[in-house]
Symmetry: C2
């Protein structure tokens, strides 16, 4: 990494900092990836300011890395080549339009804040994300984020109608329109979604919203084995049911949750957390139907927690902190994030368990199971090099297994630095198409360099 | 248009024809756009054959235009620069996988045939299309087609997980995986969807299916005015209801339908054709709720046709033939296809009526109203040049009006030749991004030249 002359930023009308302490704050995201300190940080408040920074940097060959919440899990926003970190965190407008079920939002709006602002109109931005208190809409668009509720409502991509973005050279473009469907040329909107700030900086977006469901029913279901739980998921999805959420937690995860909270004594078994959403009494029929499907697979305990459901969800949200808190000597080495076709879900979970044994690792598993999405968090002693190496080898093998099962290396966290090495395994020569697109839009390779597309 | 030497095709192991009569069949699609005869037509049956044709043509600088059903309405598949028409019509495999709710399909599979093949498993490919007896999956992916049922189930884009495509130079790529969500790099899948055969030839796809709904309830609702009907649509959608279909027909269209069929005597009023889909008894609550919303807007007649609904749908499908049959001296000049934000639907319909008066044209209007999608078919005497010119001017003004209302120039038919002139109005400088992508993937500009992207 070389130092870049970023003094030109002083001449621009944009909030910026060159102090070491501020710069250090932008050297790492929420991942354990190697930090890298930028030469400056800017906090534009308007699209024109973003454009000014980009065009000036482009002219001078200075790399720029977009940043919003900094909660990425694959080093997505780490400025590996230094230069400027451009934070869109100050761009926080929300203009809801309940009649079209959309909102215009700034990229810096935090997910939970957005949903709080929308609740008064009975609306929400529905993909769900466990880091909703920090993750922003800009970051979510850039990584095509999603979480608990994607199984019913879809991922971020499914909700983006229109994006205003600034291209690497500072040009402002608008992709897409405020319509539910269009066949008007290439979908540049969809190209920007999931491009992790390597093609453009998102400065404004029109997103689709969903109504807050009038009816919810939930269940916490303990199964005899992980395979039983996963088969139940596969049956529910295969039957065409769209639960509001269907989360898997293995026995290890439940154990950690119980340890983390005095008030929790869940059976330490592979468990599904099920939530059904609806607007009519039909939800009771759905509930009975889903219960029937699950009970074909050795249910040990079926609980309908009712009012206590909020606590269960809170506990689920604490799965990661619980893993971190479990043993002061152990830290989360990596947060795995693969997706497989739903029929292979039992297999990937089994493989993840087998590999944990093989590598002698403690690996709690959780997952947005309805999407075939599995998260795993091998716990390691960071001082113990061999331990860390085993965890990395474990991650590598689970991702390869997922790809072999016709799955994907990342279901929601994106490629960043951490998944670049798997891109060719997953996409083969289609990586060249991605590279051609990147070169066409960012010929100098200055926007978030070193991410997504692997070296040639 | 120059003649191209396509004799090299004789050396390839692929079905082809150079006879004038066969070539003439591929000079025009279902639109009134100017025909253009190719130098040869090929009918590959396998991906490798497609690749062989493309690489040989690319080497020699011969244009290739993909073709499947030939039902395009904007000249999308007309080989304007001659060369080779490559029909994927013979690639007709269907492999359903009910457990993952997906199917692997060849691009030549006709929409209705696909749904017939899937019905045994209780599944369907749900976007809906009025030309389902000719339109193919390849053509639907290429144009991001959709129809009656998109309001509930989404457009073709929402159902494409994975595409195998052959790039302009003959390279075979695979974009996407068989997963419901992924954040693994740029979505080349979404780039190919809607690219109208200008970036690659689709040779295989994995598409998502939906279950055939267990319950349906329908209504045919006549309103006092078009504005009443459109406001009802806007209210229903704004309330978050997702009908299986919600079609608008203006009084002219109903008149034409009545004339076309002896058994039909619908009230000649602005009418909504409503269909609710569900799997539970909740559908009755939805029905009552929707009826309440509609009745706020001067309903003249509410009919629940029950068993006769099939006839009503058949009549709706015949809207276009009915327009064509209305008067032997009049022909459909153009089939309009715009989408606006749902709150602007009453305005675009009103504008389309006003402009019909201004230009003194008979223009029946129908539309997939729940999506804000309006179709209009000005009827003209093709021998009367002024009449045709007025119809073109009319189309131009309606499209401009839609764009001004934050809408799109085409909701489902694509850009082809006919909408190229509106691309800059709708997308401004984002057209340059599209062009950069096209140049990156097809640097010689040989795949379906003269389409989508306007001249510089
Ligand atoms: C505890 C925890 C739980 C998590 N749970 C989930 C989950 O359930 N689902 C999920 O999807 N993710 C999850 N994540 C990962 C992370 O929150 C997401 O990747 C999120 O989308 C990142 O948003 P951000 O605003 O923090 O982006 P950042 O970390 O700031 O950036 C992420 C990427 O987006 C780019 N970017 C940021 N802003 C812009 C912009 N305005 N324009 C263009 N590019 C931009 C960056 O360059 C970078 O590549 C979790 C993270 C943590 C720490
Ligand atoms: C009466 C009637 C009603 C219609 N109703 C609707 C409707 O409700 N909704 C709707 O969306 N459309 C409708 N259309 C338009 C048309 O049917 C659609 O555009 C359809 O998707 C075209 O499919 P096709 O197989 O006929 O494609 P073609 O006309 O053969 O080609 C259309 C485009 O796709 C490209 N293409 C074809 N095959 C491939 C391939 N394998 N790989 C890459 N590119 C390919 C062509 O180059 C061309 O650009 C209607 C048309 C008619 C005549």
């Amino acid at each position: 990494m070389t130092d870049h002359d970023v003094s030109f930023l002083r001449d621009l009308d944009v909030e910026c900092s060159f102090t070491e302490s501020r710069r250090e704050q932008y050297a790492r995201d929420a991942s354990p990836h190697h930090p890298s300190t930028p030469d400056a940080v800017v906090w534009p408040e308007r699209t024109e300011e973003v454009s000014d920074v980009l065009s000036a940097a482009y002219e001078r060959g200075v790399p720029v890395t977009p940043w919003s919440g900094g909660s990425g899990l694959e080093g997505n926003a780490i400025p590996v080549e230094g230069g400027i970190v451009l934070s869109t965190k100050e761009m926080t407008w929300v203009e809801a339009d309940p009649d079209t079920l959309t909102a215009r939002v700034g990229p810096g709006v935090v997910y939970d804040d957005l949903n709080e602002a929308l609740a008064g109109d009975g609306l929400r931005f529905p993909p769900g994300i466990s880091s909703g208190d920090v993750a922003t809409i800009g970051g979510m668009i850039a990584t095509n984020a999603s979480g608990f509720n994607a199984v019913r409502y879809g991922e971020t991509r499914d909700h983006v109608r229109r994006i205003e973005a600034v291209l690497p050279d500072g040009e402002v473009v608008e992709a897409g329109r405020n319509v539910v469907k269009t066949s008007s040329g290439y979908s540049i909107t969809d190209l920007l979604v999931g491009s992790e700030g390597t093609l453009g900086v998102v400065t404004d977006a029109t997103i689709e919203l969903a109504g807050i469901p009038a009816e919810k029913r939930a269940a916490l279901v303990a199964f005899e084995s992980a395979r039983d739980a996963c088969r139940a998921v596969s049956d529910v999805i295969g039957a065409g049911v769209k639960p509001g959420a269907i989360e898997f937690m293995d026995a290890h995860s439940i154990e950690l949750l119980n340890e983390n909270r005095d008030d929790l004594t869940l059976p330490e078994r592979a468990t599904l957390l099920l939530e059904l959403h609806g607007n009519t009494s039909g939800i009771d029929e759905d509930y009975a139907f889903v219960e029937g499907l699950c009970r074909d697979h050795n249910v040990v305990e079926w609980t309908e927690p009712g009012g206590a459901m909020a606590d269960v969800w809170e506990a689920r949200r604490e799965a990661l902190p619980a893993a971190r808190a479990y043993d002061p000597d152990l830290d989360v080495a990596v947060i795995g994030d693969v997706v497989v076709p739903i029929t292979n879900y039992p297999d990937i979970v089994e493989r993840a368990h087998e590999l944990a044994d093989e590598y002698d690792l403690l690996v709690p598993l959780v997952g947005h199971a309805g999407d075939g999405n599995l998260h795993y968090t091998p716990l390691v002693d960071r001082e113990d090099e061999d331990h860390v190496i085993r965890a990395m080898a474990y991650n590598n093998e689970v991702v390869q297994a997922a790809i072999e099962m016709d799955g994907t290396a990342t279901g929601e966290h994106g490629v960043g630095i951490g998944k670049r090495g798997f891109m060719s395994d997953e996409h083969a020569n289609t990586v060249d198409v991605m590279r051609a697109v990147k070169d066409a839009i960012d010929p100098k390779g200055l926007l978030n360099p070193g991410k997504v597309i692997p070296e040639e």
